[in-house]
Each structure stands twice: as C-alpha cells, then as structure tokens.
C-alpha cells in the first residue's frame, strides 16, 4: 500500500493528545533525525497506523484502537516539549495508562 504522511493521522493524534500534533517536532530514537510529525511516513490502513522515520525507515510510532479507544505507542519518537506535544497528563507519555 501507498505511504502517506503525518497529516493523515492529525485527527487521531488530536483525539489522543487533546491538541494539534502534526507541527510537533521529535527525534527518531533509531537514527537521530529530527522532524515534525507531519513529515513522518504513515501507513494508514484504518483503523490503525504504523509511522516510520522518513530518513531511516524504522518504526517510530504505532496507533492501535483497542475496544474503541485509541492507543498511541511512540517511545521511539522523542517528542519535544512545548512544540505541540501535550500528553493526556500535560506531558508526553508512551502509552495512555489511565
């Protein structure tokens, strides 16, 4: 399937983080490349999505709906504070734990 970009998951990320996230910058934990979420490579086969670094191709984020609730695993994408990232508790977390 064809790869899209981070713009394609803007709605899901807003739903999860409670904020517009595609302008948020982060760094790939695999290769160190810094990019806004909008520029990441997204394979969006609804209802989930796999997100890869545009430079090294490694997976940096996974979106999975579990029983109607979206979960976002993003430990391989180090999001910068204050650049749009605002996790469920006001800071970014790897997984929603409530």
């Amino acid at each position: 399937m064809e790869a899209l970009d981070g713009n394609a998951i803007a709605g899901q990320l807003f739903e999860y983080f409670g904020n517009e996230m595609t302008t948020a910058f982060g760094t790939c934990a695999h290769c160190g490349t810094r990019a806004p979420i909008a520029e990441l490579v997204v394979y969006a086969r609804a209802p989930g999505a796999v997100v890869r670094c545009r430079h090294c191709g490694n997976v940096v984020m996974v979106l999975v709906p579990v029983r109607g609730e979206l979960r976002v695993y993003s430990s391989a994408f180090r999001m910068e504070q204050g650049s749009g990232a605002n996790g469920p508790s006001g800071q970014h977390r790897d997984e929603k734990t409530e």
């Binding site: 899209l4 970009d5 394609a8 803007a10």
Partner: protein, 248 residues
C-alpha cells in the same frame, strides 16, 4: 498548563448540505452549513464519518476547499470507484442531508497571510483542493504577496475549479496548468508531468525563498519536493501533504 486549558476536544458535529456542485465528472463540492463552526485556517482538513445501520463506521479525511473568510465550509470529494465513503458523498448525498464530521484538523500544511511569501503552490490532481482555500484566503487578504499555482491534471475535463482558477488569475494570481494525458489542439498551457525543467521555468529561484506547498499523490509530492531541494530550495520552506486511498 495554559496550553491544556485552550486545547479542546475534537467533537463530531453535524453539518447540513446546502448545495452540491459538480466540479468534474468524478469530483463534487459539498457546501456545508455548520452551526458553531469555530473557523479554520487555509490548508486544514476535516474527518468525515459515515455510520451504517448496523453500526459499522468509516472515516476519511478531506481538505477544506473554502477560505476562513467564506460563509460556508466547502469540501471537494473525488469519487474512488472502490471507495467506501466517496461514492456515498458524491452520488447519494443530497441538499438538506446531514453529514457527521469533526475539525478543523492539522496545523502543518497551512498558509496564513501573515506567513508572507512568495507563495508557491504545486498540485497534482485533487491535491488542488487545499489550494483553493489558500487562494481565496490570499484574495481576501488583499493579495499582499505574490501567489503562484502550478497544477498538474490529466486532462482539461479532469481539471477541478477551472472557472474559479480563471477568476483568481484575473485577480493577479499566477495560475499555470499542465496537462499530462491529453490536451486540446489549441492548448497554450504546459504539457506533460511536473519535472525539473518545468519547475526551473515556473518555480521562483531559490534566492527568492518562496514558501512552497506541495499536495498530491505520494509519488507526485516526493518527486516534486526532491527536485526542488536539489535545485537549492530550503527544505524548511517546503511543506508537503500526501493523499491516497486509505482504510480497509
């Protein structure tokens, strides 16, 4: 935590279809009345959700084609033959019907007049939709910067917003169309794909530091962005949005 205070929930809301406009044989514009719409920026999109009687839901993203200054929110939808959502939106939906959507969404592929220019927009196919919003916003903000659209379409018949683009050209935008599959015998625009030669002719030189927006199918966006970076344009002034069929 001031940020948390202003961040809102993205709620699903109902819009009412005011009008449907045939743009091409495969594309329709949906003119929507949305009570309590809190406004949007040119380039943003919405998620549309359809729910079947058995509860099955399908969601798709569509770029907003209207400017923030416009009275109604307009979406332009291209019918995909094997699509789940677009055939309903383009063939079944009628004026007066309600449509569930949420937005506005996205803050990256956005142009506001305060960002300045020159503004260079490069579209492949229905990638022209967010540029209608940007051009209308540009026109409404007194055309303070130069604006240029390079739009690649397969045929003249497939070209979306033809009349509107002619009008915006009369207002001072530079609109350049290239047809890739077939063209009329007396066609005076460009022919063929957007390649390095065409970009060298149409894009401003890198020294003028245009703000570049590229929207279209993935392969189109990547070829154009790569060519512009190779030509010396700053990657940080090039914004891209790729679209394609998504979902099961």
């Amino acid at each position: 935590m001031a940020r948390a205070a202003i961040s809102g929930r993205l709620i699903w809301r109902l819009g009412r279809v005011v009008e449907l406009v045939d743009e091409t044989p495969r594309c329709k514009s949906l003119v929507l009345e949305l009570p309590d719409w809190r406004g949007h920026r040119a380039g943003q999109h919405v998620d549309v959700r359809l729910t079947a009687e058995d509860g099955y839901q399908a969601e798709r993203s569509y770029s907003i084609a209207s400017a923030p200054e416009d009275e109604h929110v307009v979406l332009t939808v291209e019918r995909l033959e094997d699509g789940e959502v677009s055939p309903y939106l383009t063939e079944v939906l009628r004026p007066g019907d309600e449509l569930e959507l949420r937005g506005p969404i996205g803050g990256y592929f956005v142009w506001e007049s305060s960002q300045g220019g020159p503004l260079l927009m490069i579209a492949g196919g229905s990638g022209v939709v967010p540029f209608r919003a940007m051009l209308r916003h540009w026109a409404a903000s007194r055309r303070a910067v130069r604006a240029r659209l390079l739009y690649s379409s397969r045929t003249l018949e497939d070209t979306i917003y033809r009349k509107e683009l002619e009008r915006v050209a009369e207002e001072g935008a530079d609109v350049q169309l290239t047809l890739t599959r077939q063209w009329p015998a007396d066609w005076r625009g460009h022919r063929g794909r957007v390649d390095r030669d065409l970009l060298a002719e149409v894009a401003w030189p890198p020294q003028q530091r245009p703000l570049v927006y590229i929207c279209g199918p993935t392969a189109f966006v990547e070829a154009v962005a790569e060519a512009l970076v190779d030509a010396g344009h700053e990657p940080g002034r090039i914004k891209t949005e790729r679209f394609g069929p998504t979902g099961a």
